[in-house]
Assembly symmetry: C2
Homo-oligomer: 334 residues x 2
DNA sequence: AATCCGATTGGAAACGTTTCCACCTTCGCC
DNA sequence: GGCGAAGGTGGAAACGTTTCCAATCGGATT
């Protein structure tokens, strides 16, 4: 590692030409072939590469977009990230993932990232949303697109889905299979998805008569938390169906079922949500409600592109419908 | 979203004081309480927040560190990221993940990220390493720490592990259990981990006599690729032990075993590598070689801190030993 | 009462880049 | 051969911030 990196001025001096010509020769247009050759050589000799900071200060553009997410460990965010990258990369944007790490302080962290971040825009999928976060998004210095909650009224661009309806579809599916003792395994209720999925379960549980309907809340949306919560849920009484708020929770739940010597789907049918790859290859493969992660990521990225072009473009809300993918964990296939 | 964001100069004008005083009042020291109050008010009224680009240009510091990784979908990288974040965050650094996305162009992408990135340093875990990449790392404008391959001779800081030895430990474990027909399920051989693990298997296969030893290479280190490759491997003849180069491949392999109506670990014992969370909660839980992802991440981050402080600090190489974690998939527990 | 010291303040430069503007050269055309 | 246009080049400003340095002010000490 050389102690100091070469600057454009040094290249200019070495080439014996002006700073302006050097810049043009390397990047812009309007330089003679001889000039280009000369400057290129000098730049190569010095191992020059343009400093992103200086360039961005002048251009007022970083060509970076952030994807801010509470927990990068959740495969659904990985899918979204791939989709966002796929849309943005051809337009010259790099996608950087900022994991807020600790979900408790995610709001504050997010805001700070935004204001002092090196990005032209941000796609954010917050686990928890409060008024302060919304206000910060509204007065953010760069465009923000929210994945995960409709915010029609506030002039914020968002891509949302109907996860409540998705839970309903899963419950109806289980009922149609003849299951009558259903357990709902949700994530934290103070999160946006947790709250929505709870609404979905409450609604459908009011419509459909079960012999028994119980529920339990996991500490977060991870496999481990799902395992623990499912143990508690199953300890309270026999169930023949488990609706998990998320694929990771469902995987934990399946383990809990088997710990009791029961089998999936014969004794207990299990559904997840998010239609992740791990759910598809798990054994049994997971019946899961797809919320179109890839589609949502793509939609968010497209809105971002539009806003990057024209920051005053009207806010836009898109909704992606849920779709039930029936697989082995509810006895669907084979 | 306001059309233009407030600058420090605007705050200064509104407060009726100089630019220098404004900066001091907000950030530095040596300003009178009255001045601080006055400037704070003006800043609040304008909704001012410092521009990261301008600040970085002057400070020559971004307080960001990149973690560049080929495939963020692999949980082992998530673990590393958490560890890196954990070490760096208390020192005021933000960790951003740059997924090179397509592994084929990962080298080129990586280099570009580095040179034009908004980071003070970079921790990189390359899947494929060639001379060009090494040269780029050596002349990188910011400190780089490599996770995944010892590069002692080149003056590059790295944190590596003995994955070859780890494969050896897994094979020996299976042999000790009485398994005599072993299959090795590796990832691409042109990757750094693929090559190392191949060496490990070749070495131990030369030492220990098996009745049968076969192997197959998966297209990448994912569950899906593991499933497909394991199908091919198992189709070629009966095996009673499978050594997978990674937990994801192992999970795919278990599915392939079961598709044949065989059970794990009774008919076929399976080992993975990386000791990921998903492997621990999978069913059966996965016997896996821990390569200390968290420990490696932490070590890399600590080296990075040192280099950020003193870029000319001598390069440092750390090695973390592998450790076999015996679980259900080889019949270890219960 | 004069001087000195410390505490605050403002002016100005600097970080590295791009681009506007003005100037110069050269070529083509009348 | 002169004139206009076109193309290439250099000077200088600008982006937003921090910090060095000098200058001012007030109070305290001799």
């Amino acid at each position: 590692m050389t102690s100091t990196r070469a600057t454009l001025l040094q290249v200019a001096e070495r080439a014996g030409v002006s700073l302006a010509s050097t810049s043009r020769a390397l990047h812009g247009t309007g330089a003679s072939p001889a000039m280009v050759e000369r400057v290129r050589t000098a730049a190569a000799e010095l191992g020059y590469s343009a400093d992103a900071i200086g360039r961005s200060l002048r251009l007022k553009k970083t060509f970076q977009v952030a994807f801010a997410v509470a927990d990068i460990g959740n495969p659904v965010y990985v899918e979204m990230m791939r989709a966002i990258h796929e849309v943005l990369a051809p337009h010259g944007y790099r996608v950087v993932v900022m994991s807020t790490g600790d979900t408790a302080t995610s709001t504050t962290e997010l805001v700070r990232s935004l204001n002092s971040g090196f990005v032209d825009g941000m796609v954010v999928s917050p686990l928890r949303t409060d008024d302060r976060l919304i206000r910060e998004i509204q007065q953010a210095p760069v465009p923000v697109v929210v994945i995960g909650r409709a915010l029609d009224d506030r002039g914020i661009s968002s891509v949302s889905t109907d996860s409540a309806g998705g839970i309903g579809a899963a419950v109806r599916h289980l009922h149609a299979l003849g299951r009558r003792r259903v357990g709902f395994l949700n994530g934290p209720l103070d999160t946006t998805p947790g709250a929505a999925r709870q609404r979905g379960f409450d609604a459908v549980a009011g419509e459909i008569a079960f012999d028994r309907a119980d529920q339990e809340v996991a500490g977060d949306f991870t496999v481990t938390a799902g395992l623990e919560a499912a143990r508690r849920l199953l300890a309270r009484g026999k169930l023949d169906a488990l609706v998990a708020a998320n694929d990771l929770l469902a995987i934990g739940a399946i383990r809990a079922v088997r710990e009791l010597g029961l089998s999936v789907p014969e004794d207990v049918a299990v559904t997840g949500m998010d239609d992740t790859e791990i759910g598809r290859v798990f054994q049994p493969s997971l019946t899961s409600v797809s919320l179109g992660s890839t589609e949502r990521g793509r939609a968010a990225a497209r809105i971002m592109l539009r806003l990057a072009d024209d920051p005053d473009h009207a806010a836009q809300q898109i909704t992606v419908g849920p779709e039930l993918m029936v697989r082995e964990s509810t006895g669907g296939v084979r």
